[in-house]
């Protein structure tokens, strides 16, 4: 499944990085500590977080993550959005909270 299909099925809004919507989703990771994500997330995972700092994109790029999902309707900071477009790593968001969106993503990826 690619990012675009996940976005459609979970009703996520695509905020930036549209050129990366065909990236393959291999799993998910949930954390708001960027140091933890740097240490533990794997390539191809969708990262669910509430952090909107531009360092999010640097770490997503470093770890080759599929995309970012911001929870509770959070919007990326302007420089995070710019980086997302520059790196072609999509930033999506949802009005749902972390628990709910994570549950839905898990079900979608593990039918």
């Amino acid at each position: 499944m690619n990012v675009k299909e996940v976005a459609e099925k979970l009703g996520l809004k695509v905020i930036s990085g549209e050129n990366g919507l065909d990236r393959e989703v291999k799993g998910g990771y949930v954390s708001d500590l960027l140091s933890d994500v740097m240490g533990s997330a794997n390539a191809g995972e969708l990262w669910i977080t509430l952090q909107t700092h531009k360092n999010v994109m640097a770490i997503a790029s470093l770890k080759d993550l599929a995309a970012i999902i911001l929870v509770k309707g959070f919007e990326p900071d302007p420089d995070m959005e710019e980086q997302s477009n520059a790196e072609d790593i999509p930033v999506l968001n949802s009005d749902l909270d972390t628990f709910t969106i994570t549950g839905r993503l898990f079900q979608l990826l593990n039918p």
Binding site: L33, L34, S35, V37, M38, Q51, T52, H53, K54, N55, A58, I59, D77
Partner: protein
């Protein structure tokens, strides 16, 4: 040029996690005993205990840099210091307007007290001061600098509430005047892991929440005197001034 022993990160009874022993009088007694020349008063998200500590400090010949430890939206702790009490008050208005309306629970978090020089309670801060304010680190930095203040991310080596734990690494374009290291690591050992930060200014402080810990980690500032502008120069290593950590 003189060399001053400086501990820039000290909490008072106003911080919920601060011991009730951290009254202005006790802080100054302990700093005096440990021959500390300059202390920073940095409660969580509030500057309201700085004035009284400053009054007590003057009697003991100790200089106070009045400040605060801000919790940014990313939950990064950052120290900020200001030159005058008028400017400090302006920053307090900013803090008050961005601190969420989450009330303190004294049983869980402890008391948040403003006391006078005789340790009488003047008031109690009802809102929980360890909450994150609704401003991100760049906004806090910009506000501090717009007021001519000094901006120092706190204990960046720590696994909790530090710049690196929260944001993964030090953003290369962050406009910080210095970075603080805790007692848990030597400056040398830290830099061997983060060689990209060589050449930055570091300070070391105690982050004391109880009197006996004051001064257990400190910085030496080489300056002409203890004026705030000398502090600025020391952090910039300007005109022979220097921060030795």
């Amino acid at each position: 040029m003189k060399e001053y022993k400086v501990d820039l990160h000290i909490h008072t009874v106003l911080s919920p996690c601060g011991s009730l022993m951290m009254s202005p009088l006790n802080i100054i007694k302990e700093a005096f005993r440990k021959k500390i020349d300059i202390i920073g008063i940095t409660d969580h998200n509030s500057t309201r205990q700085c004035r009284v500590v400053n009054e007590e400090a003057k009697k003991a010949g100790i200089t106070v840099y009045a400040g605060v430890e801000v919790t940014t939206k990313e939950e990064v702790h950052c120290l900020a210091f200001f030159e005058t009490f008028d400017i400090l008050d302006a920053f307090q208005i900013y803090l008050d307007s961005h601190l969420p309306e989450i009330m303190n629970n004294t049983e869980l978090f402890g008391y948040q007290l403003v006391v006078d020089k005789d340790e009488n309670i003047v008031c109690e801060e009802p809102r929980l001061l360890i909450s994150a304010i609704s401003q991100n680190i760049d906004q806090v930095e910009a506000k501090v600098h717009s007021l001519g203040g000094i901006f120092i991310p706190a204990h960046i080596n720590r696994a909790k509430y530090g710049l690196i734990s929260q944001l993964g690494f030090v953003p290369p374009d962050l406009n910080a005047d210095a970075y603080e290291l805790s007692k848990h690591i030597s400056t040398e050992a830290f830099l061997s892991g983060f060689s990209n930060l060589k050449g930055k200014t570091f300070i070391r402080s105690s982050d004391a929440h109880q009197p006996e810990l004051i001064g257990e980690n400190f910085t030496l500032l080489k300056m002409e005197n203890t004026e705030f502008d000398e502090f600025r120069k020391a952090l910039k290593s300007s005109q022979g001034r220097e921060a030795i950590a």
